[in-house]
């Protein structure tokens, strides 16, 4: 089935006489990607900063595609845990790279969807003809996270700095209490609910009745698939070693169903006393660990790629973001992609069966499973998504075929770039093998009830 081109439809609309005619939309393509191996928090990258990691990922991309001295249209990326001194993080990384210093950059942040949202932004500018090329990516470190002072200390210090006299200053500082001296480390708790992401997912997991066994299966597959991909050399042109690390160090090629089954639950323990029978099922094995890392993806117009004699892996077809009302429990925190995808498919005249690959970010194994279960649920799709019936069943053998976040780890803003590069290469390989177009659906859930999704198609 052919994709109906909305670009052509839009371009055919004539501008009124006398106004400047907008150029029609054109294709944005993924040229390639590069990331550093992801590392578990507090290990190999313990003292690496966001800037160092993203610069390394960017510089690897520059080296791979010979972009030294090149003025790109823009570099867009971000970090979820970001120090206030990094107000221009991505621009600083560009200045520290061998790209032309005339390459503009900006920071963007949408929690775990940062990397994908950056790619959507770059792809849109390319499609509009505003830039010819761009890099989208992200970086995050939990190990080198900014530490903030307590609210009490912060307000006292600010009051002291605003004070005009020594007396006023001392008065302001006298408000500091011993408890105020305790530093605040960033938490992954939802600010509005106080529940951690894991606890939120545990509620969703319980609601959908996702079993421990099913979750452990997803985790095991993630490790096995990622290990196979590494062994087969899939990541050889997608990863640059960093700080002596050549592979994602969260990967456990030798893990087994038995080992995963032996782990104790870490999330949802308080639900054991709940009226909804919910034995805790989420463990350190089927939940993503905190990770450090960075990734970058090169996007361009077809013309720019051809002029630079660069390959084209995939076309960035379209994207859709969504948000859900999770605060009062109406919907699960990580369910936004479930809402985004039907809208994305409808706009592009596609169904779930039209995809060769599904890249569903494994925030937790249960997130993948609740997403798939929701799309299969007739009642849910009708009442919650406003569809005539179930969206459809996803062929599980097409999901995260080269592993995902459970095995690779999840440095929040870096995950979008990892997934995009993997998906682009997968559709390119599949198309080369079969001679037919291949398509991938990308889905990334994020804190705040957010989600970003996108369609890639072999170019």
């Amino acid at each position: 089935m052919a994709t109906r081109s909305t670009a052509a439809a839009t371009a055919s609309r004539k501008a009124p006489k006398g106004t400047t005619a907008a150029p029609g939309l054109r294709d944005a393509v993924v040229v390639g990607g590069n990331r550093i191996p992801f590392s578990r928090a507090g290990k190999r990258y313990a003292d690496a900063s966001n800037q160092e990691m993203f610069t390394a990922a960017l510089e690897g991309l520059v080296a791979r595609f010979g972009l030294q001295g090149e003025r790109l249209g823009e570099v867009v990326g971000g970090a979820v845990l970001k120090h206030s001194r990094d107000f221009n993080l991505v621009r600083e990384c560009v200045l520290g790279s061998s790209l032309s210093p005339q390459t503009p950059a900006y920071d963007l942040q949408q929690a775990c969807a940062t990397g994908l949202e950056a790619a959507i932004a770059v792809a849109n500018k390319i499609r509009l003809g505003q830039v010819e090329s761009g890099v989208a990516g992200g970086t995050d470190t939990v190990s080198d996270a900014p530490i903030a002072v307590s609210e009490g200390l912060r307000r006292a210090l600010l009051a002291a700095s605003h004070a005009k006299t020594l007396q006023q200053r001392l008065k302001a500082l006298a408000r500091i209490r011993p408890g105020d001296l305790k530093p605040l480390t960033p938490a992954t708790d939802e600010p509005r609910t106080g529940l951690s992401m894991g606890e939120h997912q545990a509620v969703t997991t319980a609601r959908w009745g996702i079993t421990r066994e099913a979750q452990d299966e997803v985790a095991l597959a993630s490790h096995q698939n990622l290990a196979r991909a590494w062994e087969s050399g899939f990541f050889d042109d997608l990863v640059t070693p960093f700080r002596g690390l050549t592979r994602d160090d969260n990967l456990r090629p030798d893990t087994s169903a038995e080992k995963l089954a032996a782990l104790k639950p870490v999330f949802g323990k308080s639900l054991a006393t709940s009226g909804t029978p919910a034995e805790p099922t989420m463990t350190a094995g089927n939940s993503t660990p905190l990770t450090d890392g960075a990734s970058a993806v090169l996007l361009a117009s077809r013309d720019w790629a051809a002029e630079h004699d660069l390959p084209v892996l995939a076309r960035f077809v379209d994207a859709e973001t969504a948000a859900v009302d999770f605060v009062h429990g109406h919907e699960g925190l990580l369910m936004a992609p479930v809402h985004a995808v039907p809208r994305l498919l409808a706009r592009n005249g596609l169904t779930l069966e039209d995809f060769d690959f599904f890249e569903i970010h494994e925030a937790f194994a249960a997130t993948v499973l609740t997403t798939l279960a929701a799309w299969e649920d007739d009642e849910y799709c009708r009442t919650e998504l406003g569809l005539p019936g179930a969206l459809g069943k996803v062929d599980r053998s097409r999901v995260n075929v080269n592993g995902s976040s459970l095995a690779a780890g999840h440095p929040f803003a870096a995950t979008g770039g990892r997934i995009l590069a993997t998906a682009a290469k997968l559709v390119a390989q599949r198309a080369a093998e079969t001679g037919r177009p291949a398509r991938a659906l990308v889905s990334v859930c994020a804190a705040g009830g957010l989600g970003a999704t996108a369609i890639l198609e072999s170019a």
């Binding site: 609910t193 529940l195 308080s270 605060v327």
Partner: protein, 332 residues
């Protein structure tokens, strides 16, 4: 008909507590007498002071920073609207003044806050000049003693509506007063099957409703309350009852640790409802087991099934499967 007695300003709680402690001792001494007082009729009966206190003008213009501190502590959005919980804080000392009157029949100390019901009929804003009234009414039986309503009303100057902009009813229990001779004293009134209120050492319930009869819903949120929660709300509200201030002072009153102010928990729940409550809303709470500090409270704040646009909320201790409080927020 209550006689209205106008006070020059809202009294400070600290002084009221000192008076309350003294009168509590006097009432406690009275209780040691062989004949227990009963409600209604007879010379020994309990009667409420036939007076309403009134403060003619409370200027909120200079409360900006206090309001902001309140809004931040309770997770309310910072704005010039006075949340219902803030109006309770504003009016509470006047109600307390009624309770420390020499002719108020129940001891202030040891009274248990059972429930609260407040209606914000119209928005009250920073800069409004307010008239505040407070009185006690409806002394009645509770299966563990007697309960009484403390009513406070807030009117905005220049607003001639018969319905006050804000009206709060705080229901208190005084234990140990024998209600058995009161008509209808079957415990139905105020006895919701939950062990009521801030009752120290009463972990096992009262037999009428075993604690395992209740199963919590799925949570929508979790509050991790630090040890200083009682001190922080005490400083803002002026309610520095020793049971809230520190483990040591709470132990003196039979609690293992300091307990959170009930109204702090109810006001946090109100804030969790968010802007969906609208400008005018009714906010109710019934208190069950006290929240020990430091402590973690799981909460479910969810749209009400029976009241469109409204919310119900409940807070509990997940490990002990104990309900701390529950209530509703309904747009008016």
């Amino acid at each position: 008909m209550l006689a209205v007695e106008t006070l020059p300003s809202v009294p400070r709680l600290t002084g009221l507590y000192a008076r309350g402690a003294a009168s509590s001792g006097r009432i406690a001494a009275g209780r040691a007498l062989p004949s227990l007082p009963v409600i209604g009729g007879g010379e020994d009966s309990l009667t409420l002071p036939p007076v309403a206190y009134r403060v003619a003008e409370v200027d909120t213009a200079d409360m900006a920073s206090h309001l902001r501190d309140y809004q931040r502590l309770l997770h309310e959005p910072v704005s010039d609207h006075l949340p219902s919980g803030y109006l309770h804080v504003l009016a509470f000392p006047l109600a307390t003044a009624v309770m420390v009157r020499a002719d108020f029949p129940l001891p202030l100390l040891g009274m248990v806050h059972l429930a609260n019901d407040a209606a914000l009929a119209r928005p009250v804003r920073l800069g409004d000049r307010l008239e505040v009234r407070a009185w006690a009414e409806d002394l009645r039986a509770h299966r563990r003693g007697v309960q009484v309503d403390l009513v406070a009303e807030v009117r905005v100057q220049g607003d001639d509506d018969a319905v006050p902009a804000w009206r709060g009813v705080s229901t208190y229990l005084a234990r140990g007063f024998d209600p058995s001779e009161v008509e209808g004293a079957d415990g139905a009134d105020g006895g919701d099957g939950q062990a009521p209120g801030d009752v120290p050492g009463d972990a096992g319930g009262d037999g009428t409703a075993p604690s395992d009869a209740w199963a919590p819903p799925l949570p929508t949120g979790r509050w991790v309350l630090p040890a200083g929660t009682g001190r922080a709300y005490g400083a803002l509200s002026g309610d520095r009852n020793p049971i809230h201030m520190s483990a040591l002072s709470a132990k003196a009153f039979g609690f293992p640790r300091a307990i959170a102010h009930g109204m702090y928990t109810a006001a946090r729940a109100l804030a969790d409802v968010g802007m969906a409550r609208g400008d005018a809303y009714r906010w109710t709470v019934r208190f069950a087991k006290p929240v020990l500090l430091p402590g973690t409270v799981d909460v479910a704040v969810t749209p009400a099934e029976d009241a469109p646009g409204g919310f119900t909320y409940v807070g509990w201790n997940a490990l002990r499967r104990q309900k701390h409080f529950e209530g509703t927020v309904t747009p008016l």
